[in-house]
């Protein structure tokens, strides 16, 4: 972040983007909300990668985190509850030139939008998906989410959530064609940024579950992890999320995990003794549907007209 970057050049760039080029309205999240850290990380990534703001599209659903596009000075699509993934896939379908990010929450993605989650993972179109998981519905003021811990209070389950929570990592890893599955924590900005950076570089759909704090409705949910970093299992590997010394120093419970090993990734996700942070799975060779959907993009108008004429001729009598 300091000093010369690897790609430095004596020639001035035609367009040099600074952080302010990605900053729009002042976020209206609650003080202490974990969303802010992710927003900053996303803006830093855009700045570092010099993503042209007009070529960047942030798609979201409905929920607190889904307000994020309003705080990015890029193109954005703040659509319907549960449906950011179909929209993002549609944006991507004919626009390989765009950088597509998806912002979704545990209610948005793991409840109302579950069908799209499964199929978008399978489509594996190039985009970065950020799942903000605070284990609670916050925008609608504290209802149980699919990831709410069993027994936790909410206004829809005042006697405590009746079921064990759904595990987004295990679900995602089990989906055919899952190609990038990572987990990070909003209270370590370095790791968040490193994860988003790796995700953005991935040739396919990258899925990041972010353990995100809601100071208002679920302030205690990640507190044990914050107080005792040994409850976190940091996944380290040359092919994983780069973890620098500061990160390694905090998270001493480390596991060498090759993200190519899907079977081991599933075991790590399912383990109950520690929460994994890092890259669980990556497969850069997974099939990509966006290559199929972009077919014919370069066809010229006269070619199209000729083809349609020929098609109509098939029905001549």
């Amino acid at each position: 972040m300091y000093g010369l970057k690897k790609d430095w050049d004596l020639e001035p760039r035609v367009r040099q983007f600074v952080l302010a080029d990605y900053q729009s309205n002042v976020p209206r999240w609650c003080p202490g909300c974990g969303d802010s850290a992710v927003l900053s990380a996303l803006q830093r990534l855009a700045r570092d990668e010099q993503l042209p703001p007009e070529k960047t599209v942030v798609v979201s659903g409905i929920g607190c985190s889904s307000r994020l596009p309003h705080y990015m000075k890029t193109y954005g699509f703040h659509g319907l509850h549960g449906r950011p993934l179909p929209v993002a896939c549609g944006v991507r379908s004919r626009r390989p030139d765009l950088h597509v990010f998806v912002v979704t929450g545990d209610g948005d993605n793991c409840a109302i939008g579950t069908a799209h989650w499964i199929h978008a993972i399978r489509y594996n179109m190039k985009m970065t998906v950020l799942l903000f998981d605070n284990n609670i519905y916050s925008l609608t003021k504290m209802q149980t989410s699919p990831t709410t811990k069993r027994g936790d209070f909410s206004y829809t389950h005042p006697m405590g959530a009746p079921l064990n929570p759904l595990d987004p990592l295990s679900v995602t890893l089990a989906i055919t064609n899952a190609s990038f599955v990572a987990q990070t924590i909003d209270w370590n900005p370095m790791h968040v940024e490193a994860t988003i950076r790796a995700a953005h570089a991935h040739p396919g759909l990258s899925f990041i579950r972010i353990l995100q704090r809601c100071p208002h409705y679920n302030p205690m949910v990640w507190q044990p992890l914050q107080q005792d970093p040994s409850l976190i299992r940091l996944l380290v590997h040359p092919d994983g999320i780069p973890a620098d010394d500061t990160v390694r120093k905090i998270f001493k419970n480390q596991l060498e995990h090759d993200p190519a090993d899907l079977s081991a990734a599933k075991d790590i996700a399912a383990a109950t003794d520690a929460v994994p942070v890092g890259l669980l799975h990556r497969n850069v060779n997974a099939e990509r549907y966006d290559f199929a959907t972009a077919q014919g993009l370069t066809m010229e108008t006269d070619e199209r007209v000729q083809a349609i004429q020929a098609e109509i001729d098939r029905f001549l009598v």
Binding site: S24, N25, P52, P53, E54, K55, V57, V58, V59, P69, H70, M72, K73, T74, Y75, G76, F77, H78, G79, L80, R83, L85, P86, V87, A88, C89, G90, V91, R92, S93, R94, R95, D97, L98, A115, H116, I118, H119, A292, T293, A294, Q295, G296, L297, M299, T301, D302, E303, R304, V305, A307, I308, Q309, A310, E311, I312, D313, F315, L316, V317
Partner: protein, 634 residues
């Protein structure tokens, strides 16, 4: 075998081998049906007969007879599968009334046609005779009883040894009887068999020469047998058309319209009877650079489409009633956030799963009003197969000009019916232009509504300085979330204003018949041909009745008040549910009207009456005619 003499196109008086014999009937139009068990190929034979008739220059309208199941039991009423082909000297606009000629592969499937009044006394019946010698006594009895019944009903019966004749050519007559029957019909209707040969070659070219040869042999055998054994000849003269014609069904016309509109993205989920649009596109779309996305559900299908729209490619989604209902929330977003999209709704019988393969006009009110909040949007309804093509092209332009969804309501009747129409000459300016990626003027807001028209230009991702965040929340011109009362009021007004802008460009619809009279019949969608035919017949008897067909339902076409003023009574004829006025249990105060009638009453305050039915089949002109006569006291 002897080759038939061709009735060349436009030739009304062939004077060769098909010279008039004592049994030659010369008629201006005729209705023929072929029905078989599902899987015996009556549909293929019927379609080919329709195509060949169109090739010879006849007007044609075909209707599919579709069983509800994929493999219904043999010899069952529910399993009837086939085609009705109405051919005429002039263009044919609807399926007509009872059939003149029916070919049935067994007596049970025929009963399913009798059940829907598809036959009349005097109908000529060609029926497979092998059931008389069936090893199963029950079958023999059923057949004998049915035959006696058919005689009683006054049908002209010809028992035909279809299977026995086919066995001379193929080992499995269940796969080939349809072609033999096609040959038989070609002989009776003096069709040029070389057209049939060409059709067979086209249809079976992937299956290889052996299959083609077998099918050609079957057609020729059926033809020869009929020439030898059936004296009946029916001649429907042809009217030459100057323009080249294409023949296809409404779903194919819509699919070709999608291509000709320059649409590149079709995002859909399978649903009857809309799916065949996608089947066709799936095979052809790539040729013009398009892609079809089969989504995981109806909601995702339109979500994907709107993503493509946001990124600059006006898409299409194709659905039917239940799927249309699921898309409601996204359609409201498309209105709210002003995203162009074409939504083709091939209406079927409702409510709920309803009658999946059958026709209804049940989605008009849903198209107009279904949504949380007010959703001004354009709704069109093609009234012919040709319009299924052209309206799709127009819909894409309207969607972009007026920056929002355009709903195109077709139905199962248009979707599966086939008719010839003038070959469209695709124009380059029909196609969507390439995405604008020029720099956006940052002083122009993404919803800078022109106060007079409500129209605004939209930035497309990739345009520098155009960045905005689309939202389904209430928003101001800059797309900033805004809860202020005045901003919301103004934004709603601007979105509504666009319909006024479109309205000002519309021309009043033309009245069919006299511009004044005792009764005006208003229709929309696929009923046009049947309504106008019924009106013609009643007018011939002096009835002062005219017809008006609406093709743009939102905004409603202009001039209705003026037109309505000139008629004593106004009624709609529709294929959807309404309470009958004379039903003793209907309370007039709470009578439920047909859908267009609701809309016209609200719009014009005229006492518009209605007559509507939900038979699951197109309304025959005779049934409409009877109602018109009743109303006029004729």
């Amino acid at each position: 075998m002897s080759q038939p003499e061709a009735l060349s196109r436009g030739d009304e008086s062939p004077d060769t081998a098909s010279a008039v014999s004592p049994q030659t009937q010369i008629v201006s139009q005729h209705i023929v049906e072929i029905v078989s068990d599902s899987g015996e190929g009556a549909q293929t034979a019927g379609q080919m007969f329709g195509t060949v008739s169109a090739k010879m220059g006849n007007g044609v309208w075909t209707v599919e007879i579709i069983p509800a199941e994929i493999e219904p039991p043999h010899r069952s009423r529910s399993g009837a599968s086939g085609n009705r082909i109405r051919i005429g000297r002039e263009a044919v606009t609807n399926m007509g009334d009872a059939a003149d000629v029916v070919v049935a592969f067994n007596e049970q499937v025929l009963y399913s046609r009798i059940d829907v009044n598809a036959l009349k006394p005097g109908t000529t019946l060609f029926i497979e005779s092998k059931w008389a010698d069936d090893p199963d006594e029950a079958v023999r009895e059923q057949y004998a009883e049915a035959l006696a019944d058919f005689r009683e009903r006054g049908y002209q019966i010809h028992e035909v040894p279809m299977e026995q004749e086919c066995l001379r050519i193929v080992p499995d007559p269940r796969r080939g009887k349809n072609m033999w029957v096609l040959g038989l019909l070609c002989a009776i209707y003096e069709r040029d068999v070389s057209h049939v040969h060409a059709e067979i070659e086209q249809k079976f070219k992937r299956k290889g020469q052996k299959i083609i040869d077998a099918n050609v042999a079957l057609v020729d055998a059926g033809y020869a047998w009929a020439r030898e054994n059936i004296p009946l000849r029916i001649r429907v003269p042809v009217s030459p058309t100057a323009e080249p014609q294409v023949v296809m069904n409404g779903n194919r016309a819509a699919a070709l319209g999608i291509m000709a509109a320059g649409i590149e993205v079709c995002s859909m989920y399978p649903i009857t009877p809309a799916t065949s649009v996608s089947h066709y596109l799936a095979a052809a779309f790539h040729k013009s650079g398009g892609m079809i996305h089969q989504a995981e559900d109806e909601i995702s299908a339109i979500g994907f489409a709107l993503g493509a729209s946001y990124a600059g490619k006006t898409p299409v989604t194709v659905t039917s009633g239940p799927g249309f209902a699921l898309k409601t929330e996204f359609i409201a977003l498309a209105v709210m956030a002003e995203l162009p999209i074409v939504i083709i709704v091939v209406q079927r019988g409702g409510p709920s799963t309803g009658l999946p393969t059958r026709v209804e006009q049940g989605e008009l009110l849903a198209a107009l009003f279904a949504s949380p909040g007010d959703v001004p949007k354009i709704v069109m309804a093609p009234s012919t197969i040709e319009e299924c093509f052209h309206f799709t092209v127009t819909a894409r332009k309207l969607a972009e000009t007026f920056r929002g969804p355009v709903i195109v309501l077709t139905d199962a009747n248009l979707a599966t019916g086939q008719a010839p129409f003038s070959r469209p000459e695709v124009q380059e300016d029909w196609l969507a232009p390439p995405i604008d990626q020029s720099e956006w003027d940052p002083t122009v807001a993404p919803y800078q509504w022109d106060p007079a028209t409500g129209l605004s230009q939209r930035p497309i991702p990739g345009q520098r300085n155009g960045m905005y965040v689309l939202t389904g929340l209430a928003h101001d011109e800059r797309s900033k979330v805004a809860y202020e009362s005045e901003i919301n009021q103004r934004a709603m007004k601007m979105r509504s204003r666009k319909l006024h802008t479109l309205f000002r460009t519309l021309k009043p619809p033309k009245v069919y018949g006299d511009p004044e009279g005792d009764l005006l019949v208003v229709g929309w969608g696929s009923t046009r041909g049947a309504i106008e035919e019924a009106v013609d017949r009643v007018r011939q008897d002096g009835g002062k009745v005219s017809a008006l067909h609406l093709r743009i339902l939102s905004p409603l076409e202009p001039g209705l008040d003026e037109i309505f003023k000139r008629f004593k009574n106004i009624m709609t004829v529709e294929i959807n549910y309404s309470d009958d006025e004379d039903d003793p249990y209907t309370v007039p105060e709470t009578r439920r009207y047909a859908q267009l009638a609701w809309v016209l009453r609200a719009r014009t305050l005229a006492p518009v009456d209605c007559w509507s039915r939900v038979p699951g089949i197109p309304l025959p002109p005779g049934q409409i005619e009877a109602e018109l006569r009743r109303r006029l006291g004729l």
